[in-house]
């Protein structure tokens, strides 16, 4: 009888000695996979169109990004963001030159420009960007999309 009485005294504490190990494991996972957002968006985050014929961008270090979308304060028209500020079309030239200056000579032909444009922006803006890119011979472009059916765009 006395034996049973003793048991009732309290549950044994769960051994938490391995807890730090578990947490560290998770921590390392997130540390390794994390990508810090290098640019802060000054425009509304573009809602990318969807497409299914997509290719993954492999070398992240060889990609420069151009964001196109609506202004945060609601002014009409498409705004272009290069690096961390809203820019005009003519600044794309110097942006590409600056991107090239950071890379070695051999990598320059491999540079890709990723256009992250909102699905509501107009083709005219995109064309202006493309013409500028063509003028500076930055010919590889990637229209950033999310994976999905292209028909989703129309609905």
């Amino acid at each position: 009888m006395a034996k049973f009485g003793k048991k009732k005294k309290g549950m044994p504490a769960v051994n938490t000695a391995a807890l730090p190990d578990i947490v560290f494991m998770l921590l390392f996972f997130f540390m390794v996979t994390t990508v810090m957002r290098e640019t802060e968006l000054k425009i509304l985050t573009p809602k990318l169109p969807s497409a299914d014929q997509v290719k993954k961008l492999e070398k992240k270090s060889l990609v420069s990004y151009i964001y196109v979308g609506k202004a945060k304060d609601g002014t009409p028209g498409d705004k272009i963001q290069l690096n961390d500020r809203i820019s005009s079309i003519d600044e794309i030239r110097s942006f590409i030159y600056a991107e090239r200056a950071q890379r070695s000579e051999a990598e320059i032909p491999l540079l890709t420009t990723s256009i992250k444009a909102d699905s509501e922006s107009s083709v005219g803006t995109i064309t202006d960007i493309k013409l500028e890119l063509r003028d500076v011979n930055a010919l590889k472009v990637n229209y950033s999309t999310v994976k999905g059916s292209a028909m989703d765009n129309i609905k």
Partner: protein
């Protein structure tokens, strides 16, 4: 003096520290994978050089207007979901005769399964898709059209790869892929400058 054990460091708060760091990385992490439709822009043309003249039957004209309506070959209104079929039909036509193609150094398209319509494209290598959009076209429509045109090529390439090698295009070796993209079904999509 008797050697005393060094007192153990209290590791009880280790988990707290680790949690703090973990939460920091959880919040800052962005796991977006970058993907999209890859295109190569045409090189800048010398204005003095005249572009080569293309036969009209070898050009598949796609017009997208500012109301996001698609006009194909100048006379057919089309919905976006019909575009892929029409593009495949055009590319895969292979209507050129041996004598005609000989002059261009090509052999007739034996792998084409199209109608061999003499009024449509001669050969996949000669078939050009011309995409004309308006400045007012919405970007999502533009992407959808591009996507459908690329999908047409993907489907044809997959069909050829499946037949010849028994595998999908993506699973082929790079030399086999190059053979297909160069000689069998090269992707020729030309973008005209948009009208204002």
């Amino acid at each position: 003096m008797a050697r005393r054990d060094t007192p153990e460091i209290n590791a009880g708060s280790m988990a707290d520290i680790a949690f703090l760091l973990l939460i920091f990385f959880l919040v800052t992490t962005t796991m977006d994978t970058d993907m999209g439709i890859s295109r190569k822009l045409p090189e800048k043309q010398d204005p003095n050089i005249k572009p080569p003249v293309l036969k009209e039957k070898n050009v598949f004209e796609v017009n997208v207007n500012r109301n996001d309506e698609i006009l194909v070959e100048g006379d057919t209104y089309m919905q976006i979901d019909e575009l892929k079929e029409a593009a495949i039909k055009f590319i895969d036509n292979g209507g050129g005769t041996a004598a005609d193609l000989q002059k261009e150094g090509l052999t007739p398209c034996t792998w084409c399964e199209g109608d061999k319509d003499p009024e449509s494209s001669d050969h996949p290598k000669k078939a050009v898709i011309s995409l004309q959009s308006d400045r007012g076209t919405s970007y999502k429509m533009y992407i959808a059209v591009q996507n459908e045109l690329v999908a047409a090529y993907t489907e044809l390439r997959n069909r050829y790869a499946e037949k010849k090698y028994g595998r999908l295009f993506d699973q082929l070796s790079s030399s086999q892929q190059q053979e297909i993209t160069k000689n069998i079904y090269p992707q020729i999509i030309s973008e005209a400058e948009p009208r204002t």
